[in-house]
Symmetry: C2
Subunit: 209 residues, 2 copies
């Protein structure tokens, strides 16, 4: 069964493979990828076999083949287009984030209800929110990011789904429901930091005991 | 056993409680919190009992008490101070993110190796990276965020640990190892989007079948 954690590990293996290829490596062993992704070598082999990727345990895996195979699974064999709705601090950082381009992820437009934030002439245009539906339909967009305030998030989600968006990453600090046959992942920065605070405090307590 | 998912749910319950209190609610039922956090009511009661929080199933929980109890668990009873190392797009968005203040999370300083990015007079000062160790020691900082390029992330992590930082959120697109008695959470935006791409494509396939 392919779950979220498995796909996260696959992304990490692929990242490591690209770095190894840049160092002129030709072959890689499950132990190398295990080190890079902070898991066991058994886990690496189990993950690959889940997707029908076979290696020769003695000879290792060929890096070029592995990159091609993991890229196909992760949809990296073509550029995946995203829109961003809500051009506040997070939305703007996402528009300007250079990491996506090398990951075959392209943010093609931003949308905002505030006309003062719109800029049709920008490298990545920022358009009025009411044009979102037409833009998604005309450009065949499948993916979106929500970075609006919490009070607007549910309505924005519904409008994105109506427009035909299939997968959404939600940064608004509210937990949106995942509709059937769609993917909605809630990523709350406060919650992430609260987690770190809790477990760091807990680690301190166990030290003291 | 308290795990990451459990603390994420606790954060979500607390967020919902604060919204309900703002609507003048006095009591809440596990079913209400279950709806807000997208889990079952049984899960809500199980999570609370794990922390010794008891409700009256018929009468529900008192919102004020629940907020106080969950706040204490999540370290919300005092302001938690963070530093940000690496003032690129993500680092700058974090410095300017208004959501943290209402979550008792305060970003007190940013650090960067590039002198052109430093600004000691800013509302949240941006200081040279070499001053990080002294700043952390003098101000008793426990938490940090890494938003540097991948090639610098491991060294930055080590310097932060030496300085006394206990809990770290890492945005650099490389998987950092979690040392004993410390918390290091790797949050890779590309990986998050790859996950959405994979499962949205997978949902499309299952529709077609």
């Amino acid at each position: 069964m392919v779950n979220r954690s498995c796909i996260i590990r696959l992304s990490r293996y692929r990242n490591a493979l690209i770095r190894l290829k840049a160092l002129n490596f030709v072959k890689v062993f499950s132990e190398n990828l295990a080190d890079a992704a902070r898991v066991t070598a058994v886990q690496v082999r189990k993950d690959f076999s889940l997707f029908g990727i076979c290696g020769n345990r003695r000879g290792g895996y060929l890096i070029d083949e592995l990159i091609a195979q993991t890229s196909a699974i992760l949809g990296k064999d073509k550029v995946q287009k995203f829109i961003v709705v809500g051009i506040g601090n997070i939305g703007r950082a996402l528009l300007n984030y250079p990491g996506f381009r090398r990951s075959e992820i392209e943010i093609v437009a931003g949308f905002d209800v505030n006309p003062a934030k719109c800029d049709k002439e920008a490298l990545i245009p920022i358009l009025p929110f009411e044009e979102m539906g037409d833009f998604v339909a005309q450009n065949g967009i499948t993916f979106g990011i929500i970075s609006v305030p919490d009070s607007a998030a549910q309505e924005v989600l519904e409008r994105m789904l109506e427009a035909g968006i299939k997968g959404i990453l939600n940064f608004a600090p509210i937990c949106l429901k995942e509709p059937k046959d769609h993917v909605v992942r809630n990523l709350n920065l406060e919650t992430e930091l609260e987690n770190i605070i809790y477990f760091a405090n807990f680690a301190e307590q166990t030290e003291r005991e």
